[in-house]
Subunit: 349 residues, 2 copies
Amino acid sequence: MKAAFMYGAGDVRVEDAPEPTIQAPTDAIVRIVRSCICGSDLHGYHNMSASDQGRPMGHEMIAVVEETGADVGTVAPGDFVVVPFVSSDNTCVFCREGLHSSCVHVGYYGQIGASGLQAELARIPHADGSLVVVPGINPDTADEAMLASLLSLSDVYLTGYHAAHVGQVVPGKTVTVIGDGAVGLSAVLASRSLGAERIILMGRHTDRTDLGLEFGATDVVAERGAEGVARVMELTGGEGSHIVLEAVGLLPAYEQAYGIVRPGGIISRVGAPQYEDAPVGFGSLFGKNARLAGGVAPVRAYLEDAIGQVLEGSINPGRVFDRIVTLDEAPEGYAAMNDRTALKVMLRA
Amino acid sequence: MKAAFMYGAGDVRVEDAPEPTIQAPTDAIVRIVRSCICGSDLHGYHNMSASDQGRPMGHEMIAVVEETGADVGTVAPGDFVVVPFVSSDNTCVFCREGLHSSCVHVGYYGQIGASGLQAELARIPHADGSLVVVPGINPDTADEAMLASLLSLSDVYLTGYHAAHVGQVVPGKTVTVIGDGAVGLSAVLASRSLGAERIILMGRHTDRTDLGLEFGATDVVAERGAEGVARVMELTGGEGSHIVLEAVGLLPAYEQAYGIVRPGGIISRVGAPQYEDAPVGFGSLFGKNARLAGGVAPVRAYLEDAIGQVLEGSINPGRVFDRIVTLDEAPEGYAAMNDRTALKVMLRA
């Protein structure tokens, strides 16, 4: 089968790879309907050391089940499913609390030895916990917009939703979203779906912030750093933003976040932090009782509800995809996202 | 009048100082009933550079009102009051939300030019917002234990309470308190008052942890660092603590906190951080969706309720005071807290 591998910075190759097989009775094998490239894949694209062993890429997919292990009971061959970006058993103490990304059996795709999901076929561990069936949809005849929205539930939209959820977005609060990438725009849409009326989007790419406005942003701030902070403070009457959703993962975005968060407010981060240490003392969080939340999104916890919203048409998160290429063309897809000529690239077989 | 000043590390002097006077019509002048020394006063006692100008010390007091400015309406000469450790107007947008420590008129005692509260008399800005009357108590005849508990509401107990409150302590959650100082022990008592059943106290001074056990701690962990983390993980069945109240303010305590917090749990800090940068990335908070909360306690928000609890005898937070000296003896009080022969020192006129 074909699958995408990264061999170093800027070096993604689509190669023939052995087909995955059932290894545990809780496994399933799925076949790609659509996959895509994540902003977080670009971190390796920027800084991965060259290696002889390619890293299997991809962690987002909608798929059709091909084969199931003996212990799999909730999905069967032929089912059309969404694959959350981490696998989980959906039964452990953390899953029962809705924190599937801390499952005691949590699995990350794309590690050496595990499936990457930018591939024709993939092995899904703990398939009962990790796959959710999309009822009543035939992927061969569904329209492309519907497939895009379902695919976005694998990671990007529900990562944005997680930011808004743990940021405690409710009507009446001012929300500021830092970052006009696909996760940031998803956070705008999720905040809107949770009732936020005032949503300030910080981003400087007009084509992207335009989609943010369609998703529900009420203000766009193109300035960054101290100027961006000053502009948000001005927009909030000097008080700051009740909730700040940080969807970038770089230190300057975090610094912007504590600069604009209101006393007693919440910074919710979902951009995978490319830093470990950051300011948290008197001058940043402590002095104003600002709270810090967020982390790896437990997509699985939100998935059934979100599938329902997509099927009924109340949200259209798939609009973040602005290019479709074949799996063979994945290297061009990475290049397009890297040079920002594409917001988010979908892959089809 | 007599007042305590710090001139450098280890150098506290009680000197004659000009009596404070009304400077704004919203001011009041109060006379000491009891004051005390705070753990945070010891930071300067350790590292203040020598100076010719003494810094007025102290930010905790119970007092009798001597004089009020023309615009003061809620307190009058003769009233017995608790003085919260920051002054606030109690009317601004942040005060109305219960975040008096972010009041637009917030004032810190002990700055050059402001009163310190380790003094016979003090000027209280925004007296209507900053002073709360203790009803039905005559400070001249009240017993010492009652005065101690009322004094603890000026800072130490309600700082511990703030940790538990923003840490979202509720019945059924495991709470771990890091630090057996007076704030840590107060956090134990507050957690108990909020219904926590399992309270792990991390501290290694037996006389202090013994009081912690009386306040409601169910387990004591004397180990620190990696050993302390391992011990708490063992006590929590490998899952970690839902809530961690960090009452120290030093980086090793914070590191211990993220080591023991459960996935999805909350670290609530009230020990004034003696660091600005700290780990918050994938390896500390983000990977397990741990949340960070806390800051400067808005004592004023909690004060009426807490006075009621003290008067009815349902809490006895004044037990953290284990030594009383005269204001003249403040230097000995600092030395005793510094060498840990006293937990918390009360000052009387």
